[in-house]
Symmetry: C2
Subunit: 530 residues, 2 copies
């Protein structure tokens, strides 16, 4: 197979062709004909989304030989889940993505005793050829471990690539793990634990609300070494566990974080990722406490996975920015599904946990290389009712960063600061801070592109500082919103759909008393798809 | 002091007088003049709310000598929190309530070293006169234990009543508990633990996310015996702890439940109650597991308290049906604040926990005594798009109960059943079930009486049965909605505000495929205030 990237024009043709062949309705191919690929309404410009059809969980995130590989749960034939395979995209900087050729790295297995859908899994770099797959193939090392979803059971399979990750060959001894033909046993995340020269797998028993840990010396033979859970929020199912080390901010220490997806049964409704912070000794993860912590105060952050083998040693997470409650009916076409920005993870020292108990810190990778126009650079002191308006000049993909400060008064602060991200028809998404509540809020309800009983409009989180300031770093990309509060100790990830067109204006309005919009920078961001 | 009930007319005059004397603005007394007291817009007719002004947490819930006492956190002079005192109402059946005279059982302490606001607390029946307060007062036994909120500290005070709970005298040795002048140390809930003939108090260290347990032989001298937490959802503050025994359904066993308020920092935003299930040995509560569980999937259930001394031995809980994020700005006047229906608590056997981990079961007390008109009694099979309409005949306070059943098909069920509770202007609250999601949903967003960035519109919870049925018991009372799912194993408590008038119609509509509305009964409910 070719190890080349897919040029845009080819991607368009491929996608249109796939659509024409496989979609019963022609609606999505009409849509793709009406708009250039990657420039349709709602299409994010600096986030990864597949050219066409349905995408859910990120899979097999791994760096190998200069390339970041992004595989993804993919239905290559429809706009809803089904026929799941691993799609594939590549990047050298985690910002610019190109669809790989072939677009499908691991196709659904149609026939034979191991016929089934290719569900979520991970990829590792087997540099020492512990698996033996690479004997006679110098320079090759990528192994994928995934769930084979069959009509009556889920098992774990292994596959290896002899062409740098573009195609995979299934191991002849598959499945490598079968939990008594359990129909719910999935989402293996494997990493190399150097102190014991061992591969470690976390995998979910979804309806028992448990994560099982297995170890292996060769990626083929696995031994159950510990279990974790139930704990925290149980929900209906636990999925997509990830165990990874992260630095403790301001120290030389490392902690281990176990991230687990809940679906359905998120406190906000539907699906969300939660996390536990603790220690890992090579076989057993032990949480430091019994607190329940979710990763996001929005509703669109799920099935997140961390990269293996980052050359800078970072732990980088990517989440699916949707929710199973409505992901199969959102109004995007000819594709559904988008990922968050890659975010570098760390934790606060436990004695410094936030006042609501948060420990995990998510720092978005820098998008400075995409900065185009400077839309604003300055500060503004806003009296009650005053507004600062920042026209977006036709750029509906942008980021802004600011610190909002309320001047103290004798009594309790009453200020509220609304940041309206609006289009010319008056549809808007509002991000704001209310000093009387000490809470950040997000409201995506004033949009008309999508109506659904589960599409909750308002999200909020408590976060307050002694100096009455709050720092916001916000990324907007046509239909995605990511809000990082106080350097990423609270994060809101949400989708939104404006029927009459994407945002055209950014407006800061102070209510009830003065607010200073300090050090506001706003930049339009170049498209990665042009 | 008189131990009589307050007739309605007197209550009105008292309230109007209080308003005229104390409110800076005349808006609320105008409102009370425009509408009969307890018949204003939004006024619940079979739920307790105070005649005027601001109410929050239920306090001192206790049965004594034939009377259920309901004390409540109360600002007798304003429509927002402040000047907190204990208001008082009484009932013989937990359904019909009368405002007591005096309405204030424990007033704010204005002067002296123990000046301060009277915050949340509990009441016990000291039948054996362990406190010595009742020497020479045969037949008297009520003792209140509350938090005194002072400008720089919170301490626990004790007071006793010599007139069956209508007025209280502070103990001369107050405060009985001071935690190093901690400004956040509050909400004592005391009960008698018979096996050791000991009083047990749970009280919160809010910002440490801890519950402290103290014991006493005389209600005056308290010894710290254990602590619990942090655990579960930490939020910013823990408040209003309650420890109580409940029966395990279908067994002769008893479990102990520790209920704790989170505010702010509820997963849904703002305030909510969570609970832990475990064991108690007279000094220490031990949770059976480390799962996080909240009591409600709406946003309006907080600061709940259980009754002491119920003559039938039940554990009955009452919650405040609001949220600190918006309770001080909701559009009700001349009062703010309403309580849930009393609910009898039990737990499922742990091996029978629901598939999302729920254990606590809330069973509303029967309102059969209030049944007025039968609005519907029957079943209906609804084809796709078909509706069953039940006119409310002028009754905006009603209950209905039904089992919704989807007929199985070959593939995944796609049905959705919407129950629209609407007024003639088209404002509506929707309760529904989506079989494709396996989730109950509630939408209060299609109402126009209240706009606020924290007033979230949509709530949902996963709950599915093998036979494709879902049982709903719903109580609507002009501006309150309580949804009990599958006999109370999931509950949604929400407020809603319809600008153009209360609901006039109930409509069941099937989407996507057939749904049977089975054994639907709907009754209008008589007002308890007429």
């Amino acid at each position: 197979m070719q190890k080349q990237f897919l040029p845009l024009a080819s991607a368009f043709l491929l996608a249109a062709s796939a659509s024409a062949q496989s979609l019963g309705s022609s609606s999505s191919s009409q849509a793709s004909a009406a708009f250039p690929l990657y420039d349709e309404p709602y299409r994010p410009q600096y986030h990864f989304s597949p050219p066409m059809h349905f995408m859910n969980d990120p899979n097999g995130l791994v760096y190998f030989n200069g390339t970041y590989h992004l595989y993804y749960q993919y239905n290559p034939t429809q706009l809803v889940a089904g026929n799941q395979a691993w799609g594939h995209a590549v990047s050298t900087d985690l910002i610019h993505w190109q669809n790989a050729v072939p677009q499908i790295a691991i196709p659904e297995a149609i026939t034979g005793p191991l016929a089934g859908q290719i569900f979520t899994g991970s990829a590792v770099v087997d540099s020492n050829n512990t698996s033996g797959f690479f004997t006679g193939h110098p320079g090759q090392a990528l192994v994928a471990i995934y769930t084979l979803n069959q009509p009556t059971r889920e098992v774990q399979n292994v596959a290896y690539s002899l062409d740098n990750g573009y195609t995979y060959t299934n191991y002849s001894g598959n499945p490598v793990l079968n939990h008594g033909n359990n129909p719910n046993f999935r989402d293996p995340k494997v990493f190399y634990y150097a102190p014991t020269n061992t591969w470690v797998m976390s995998v979910a028993l979804p309806r028992a609300h448990q994560v099982l840990f297995y170890t292996s010396l060769n990626l083929k033979d696995w031994t159950l070494v510990s279990t974790f859970g139930p704990a925290g929020v149980e929900g209906y199912q636990w999925e997509c566990p990830n165990l990874f080390p992260v630095p403790v901010q301001g120290t030389a220490e490392t902690k281990w974080v176990l991230m687990v997806g809940i679906n359905p049964g998120a406190p906000q409704g539907g699906s969300i990722d939660q996390y536990f912070v603790g220690t890992f000794d090579g076989t057993t993860f032990t949480a430091d406490d019994t607190a329940a912590r979710v990763m996001d105060f929005g509703k669109d952050f799920y099935a997140a996975q961390t990269y293996n083998n980052d050359p800078l040693g970072r732990t980088i997470v990517v989440g699916w920015m949707s929710n199973w409650q409505y992901t199969q009916v959102v109004p995007t076409t000819p594709w559904r599904g988008v990922y968050t920005l890659p975010r570098v993870l760390s934790v606060l020292p436990s004695q410094n946990q936030t006042q609501t108990g948060s420990l995990l810190v998510q720092t978005p990778i820098s998008l400075n290389d995409l900065h185009d126009q400077t839309l604003f650079d300055g500060s503004a002191e806003l009296g009650t009712g005053a507004s600062l308006s920042v026209p977006l000049k036709g750029n509906s993909s942008f980021e802004f960063e600011t610190t909002l400060v309320a001047q103290p008064t004798s009594g309790q602060l009453q200020q509220r600061l609304n940041i309206d991200i609006s289009n010319s028809a008056g549809e808007k998404v509002t991000v704001g801070y209310d000093w009387s509540q000490g809470q950040v809020f997000v409201n995506r309800g004033q949009t008309k592109g999508f109506s659904n009983p589960f599409f909750t409009n308002k999200f909020s989180v408590w976060e307050a500082n002694a100096d009455n300031s709050i720092k916001l770093h916000v990324f907007v990309d046509r239909s995605t919103l990511e809000v990082f509060v106080d350097n990423g100790i609270q994060v809101c990830s949400t989708s939104f759909y404006m029927l009459s067109g994407p945002p055209t204006n950014l407006q800061f309005t102070a209510e009830n008393d003065d607010v200073t919009v300090q050090s506001l920078t706003a930049y339009s961001l170049k498209s990665i798809w042009r």
